[in-house]
């Protein structure tokens, strides 16, 4: 069974700070998705990383897939209150299933 750990579980920062959250596993993934869930809403897909070492940028968000495809990171530059939410990186749980962990709950204070 593949296991994936997200860290930190909670993160509270001030507006303008930079931060990095991580997804780590002992297993190799063919690809990995990142979602953000805002309070009271469903998760929304941010990005999918596929190639080892791949870096994708979405405005102030930078996603990196580890060279060995066992881990991924999300770096946010100059965080804003609108970045507040639960960041999730599920793993493939079967041909049509994703397995979500607890994610990283980010709070950006104005």
């Amino acid at each position: 069974t593949q296991l994936l750990e997200q860290s930190p579980q909670f993160l509270s920062i001030q507006e303008g700070e930079n931060l990095t959250v991580y997804c780590n596993s002992s297993s190799v993934f063919s690809s990995l998705q990142w979602y953000r869930q805002e309070p009271g809403e469903g998760p929304v897909l941010l990005v999918t990383v596929v190639t080892g070492g791949e870096v994708k940028k979405l405005k102030r968000l930078t996603f990196q897939f580890g060279d060995a495809r066992k881990d991924s990171s999300l770096h946010i530059t100059a965080a804003q209150p609108g970045d507040t939410g639960l960041y999730l990186c599920p793993i493939q749980g079967g041909s049509e299933k994703l397995v979500f962990g607890k994610g990283t709950k980010l709070t950006v204070n104005p």
Binding site: G42, P43, L88, E96, L98
Partner: protein, 113 residues
């Protein structure tokens, strides 16, 4: 474009009452459909998924059931709700297999009194 509708947005039910939550998808055919529950402080737990009409896979033993009477309709039900059924219920859809993104509805906040 594809859309997913989930209702109601909030629901307060007494213990022992029945439940029916409905989810419909528009703009796609033969989607995979999912029901998740998110309890406070916990991750998204997959309850049921379906790859076609009448095909339901249950992920965890529980007090709930799911049905897919039409291609783009997914229903979550219970005959008698328990206090532990409280939570945030999310419906999602995807197409294809392996590493396909899932698209979520806005969720139903269910409170059991």
């Amino acid at each position: 474009s594809q859309t997913i509708h989930q209702w109601p947005a909030t629901l307060v039910q007494p213990v022992g009452s029945p439940l029916s939550l409905e989810c419909t998808v528009e703009g796609t055919s033969n989607p995979n459909l999912y029901w998740y529950r998110q309890a406070a402080g916990r991750g998204l737990q997959l309850l049921f998924y379906s790859v076609g009409i009448g095909q339901i896979s249950s992920e965890v033993p529980q007090n709930l059931s799911a049905s897919r009477p039409q291609d783009r309709q997914f229903i979550l039900s219970s005959k008698k709700l328990l206090l532990s059924d409280s939570g945030f219920y999310l419906c999602a859809w995807s197409v294809g297999q392996y590493n396909q993104p899932q698209h979520f509805g806005d969720g139903t906040r269910l409170s059991i009194l």
